[in-house]
């Protein structure tokens, strides 16, 4: 099994391995294999298209957590310039699972906040698998209030399994930290645009996700509880995660249909990790459009619009 591919992608992996082999042989010998390679590449692309046309919500959920998926720092590198990372909640610590700083979107100064997962084992531990503690959320709101003072749009990038469920997090008021962010973000006098780039895990995601416009990458998910968590409570078995993913409606496509998503960003064939730069370009286009649109509203229009948007969720018909 090829670890770069998920289980449902293994047929693609096998074809890719074959193509690689032929390339090596082709390099070493006189025989021209380019026709054969071209044919196989065509086949691989068609197979990928076919598999990705019929992804189940559970498969999308696996893609959203793909170990090679672009993370916040990757998007920052590919979309923005002059990123200056800012650290700490001014009270307790800096949280590496939730990062932030100021950058430019083309020429425009913006505040960036995002969950950050690690790539290597050491980095994963340092980033706590993208699960912030209260100091992370408190840093985030500190930076957002700074953005309000300096009139910068806030762009948040959501990618977390959830807020960290640990003893220290509880001691320092995980609930309060999240609740406080929800309240302050609802009246922050600057546009807030949130993009789910990977996993949108519950309150830990929403704590940087109260926004004027919600963008979702095509293979990202957003839910009140992880499919595994939901399955183990309601089905009494984590094995039923795929049923839970289906029932809850967690994919960008499902959520757009339910009216939560303002733009769905198409990903390259095979997912954002196959061509991160191209995924970033598509996202940049949508971000720029949203910023331009929202910056035309004055503060009271912006806040009224945001409040009405929040009140509309689940309101009686």
């Amino acid at each position: 099994m090829n670890p770069n591919y998920l289980d449902f992608e293994q047929p693609i992996a096998e074809l890719q391995d074959k193509i690689e082999e032929l390339r090596l042989v082709g390099n070493d010998s006189e025989i021209n294999l380019s026709d054969e390679i071209g044919r196989l590449e065509d086949k691989s692309r068609k197979l990928t298209e076919q598999i990705f046309r019929e992804l189940t919500p559970w498969q999308v959920s696996q893609l959203s957590r793909h170990p090679q998926r672009p993370y916040t720092l990757d998007y920052i590198e590919n979309i923005f310039t002059e990123f200056d990372e800012l650290h700490g909640d001014r009270a307790f610590a800096d949280d590496y699972a939730l990062i932030g700083g100021i950058a430019r979107l083309d020429d425009k100064p913006v505040m960036i906040i995002g969950h950050q997962k690690g790539r290597t084992v050491k980095d994963k531990v340092k980033r706590n698998f993208g699960m912030p503690r209260p100091e992370g959320y408190r840093k985030a709101i500190r930076l957002m209030e700074m953005a309000e003072r300096f009139n910068m749009p806030v762009l948040t990038f959501i990618d977390t399994p959830g807020a960290y469920p640990g003893i220290d997090a509880e001691e320092r008021g995980q609930s309060e930290a999240i609740a406080y962010n929800l309240a302050v973000m609802s009246r922050l006098k600057t546009p807030i645009i949130s993009t789910v780039i990977g996993e949108g895990g519950s309150g830990g995601a929403l704590a940087i996700g109260v926004c004027d416009e919600l963008l979702m990458m095509q293979y990202s998910t957003y839910s009140v509880i992880s499919p595994e968590g939901c399955a183990s409570i309601l089905w009494k078995s984590a094995e039923r995660a795929s049923d839970a993913a289906q029932a809850m409606g967690i994919t960008a496509a499902q959520l757009q249909e339910l009216g939560f998503v303002d733009s769905l960003i198409k990903e390259p064939l095979g997912g954002a990790h196959r061509r991160p730069q191209s995924a970033a370009e598509s996202l940049k286009e949508s971000l720029t459009a949203s910023v331009d649109k929202l910056q035309q509203l004055d503060h009271s229009e912006l806040l009224d619009r945001r409040y009405q948007r929040l009140m509309s969720f689940g309101a009686p018909a």
């Binding site: 309060e176 609740a179 009140v224 409606g249």
Partner: protein
């Protein structure tokens, strides 16, 4: 285990079953903390506080509001709001059937009751979570009712009090329920900016999405003694950190020590305390003496023999 039980284990079991049956249904209950056998009418008379060990047992939403408000001039708000199964959610049971069962057993439409009335003469809006309705979970009806109660309090510039008891967001309403966290918090923030008081009373238990939104946003957060309150449930934390949780973890006293709640107030003193702080926050003069929380001692029957 005595030698006799070892020899005739089946006899022991029967005896235990008999003992349980000997408590007549509907009149007696056991205190979950001190295990004293309690006469239900007496327990109710003490607002569900164990007369033996002072343990605060859970209190239903309607009983809570009934006890909280002055008798005259109360009106229920938005009582007709009913939950909708937008996702046609089905796990081992249909959400629709779970709702119907909860509605039948509690007599309520959903897990939050909202009322407008007076507390010892002070005009207030109060909401209470019904924990026995699907664990007091917050779906769209709970969020909508809460937000509109907050909007009413803001419009009238009168305080809002919330008695929270909830396991968190309602999974069967998926992202709709997650968004109720943002919705309720946004409504509260408008009250806060207008200087209209909101007091969150945390009762046993408060977790998840309710804890991480409306329940922690009070101008004052007040907990009842020994209530279990946190973001993640103790079992989830134990599985994550793989350590034993410290004694008293996530109890009200732990939260007070860590600076999360302003005070812990005994249920007998809660009405008086709320009235006292709210009158100060609203620059009203001292309240007329409140009727005593504990009426004259009555003669209650003895517990049945065990």
């Amino acid at each position: 285990m005595s030698w006799l039980d070892k020899i005739v284990p089946s006899m022991g079991r029967t005896r235990q079953a008999d003992r349980r049956q000997s408590i007549p249904n509907g009149l007696w209950t056991k205190c979950p903390k001190c295990e004293a056998v309690l006469y239900l009418p007496e327990l109710k008379h003490h607002q569900n506080v164990c007369p033996k060990c002072d343990h605060h047992l859970r209190m239903g939403a309607r009983a809570r509001l009934d006890w909280f408000f002055d008798e005259e001039g109360r009106a229920e708000l938005l009582e007709d709001l009913k939950p909708v199964d937008r996702l046609k959610f089905k796990d081992s049971k249909r959400y629709k059937d779970r709702l119907a069962a909860a509605q039948k057993s509690t007599g309520e439409n959903d897990a939050l009751i909202a009322m407008h009335g007076t507390l010892n003469g002070l005009d207030v809006v109060a909401v209470a979570f019904e924990f026995s309705f699907m664990g007091g979970s917050m779906g769209s009806v709970v969020g909508e009712k809460f937000a509109r109660a907050a909007e009413l309090a803001l419009e009238k510039r009168i305080p809002l009090i919330c008695f929270a008891a909830s396991g968190g967001a309602r999974m069967q309403e998926a992202l709709f329920s997650l968004m109720q966290m943002a919705k309720t918090s946004a409504a509260l923030e408008r009250m806060k900016n207008a200087g209209v008081p909101y007091i969150s009373v945390l009762t046993d238990p408060v977790f998840g999405g309710v804890s991480a939104s409306l329940a922690m946003l009070g101008d004052l957060n007040i907990a009842e003694p020994n209530a279990l309150i946190g973001f993640a449930g103790p079992r989830v934390i134990e599985q994550t950190v793989r350590e034993k949780l410290p004694e008293g973890f996530q109890r009200s006293e732990f939260l007070l020590e860590h600076g999360t709640v302003d005070m812990i107030v005994h249920r007998n003193e809660l009405r008086e305390t709320l009235g006292r702080v709210l009158r100060k926050m609203q620059h009203k003069s001292v309240a007329p003496a409140i009727q005593p929380a504990e009426p004259a001692v009555q003669d209650w029957p003895d517990a049945p023999d065990e």
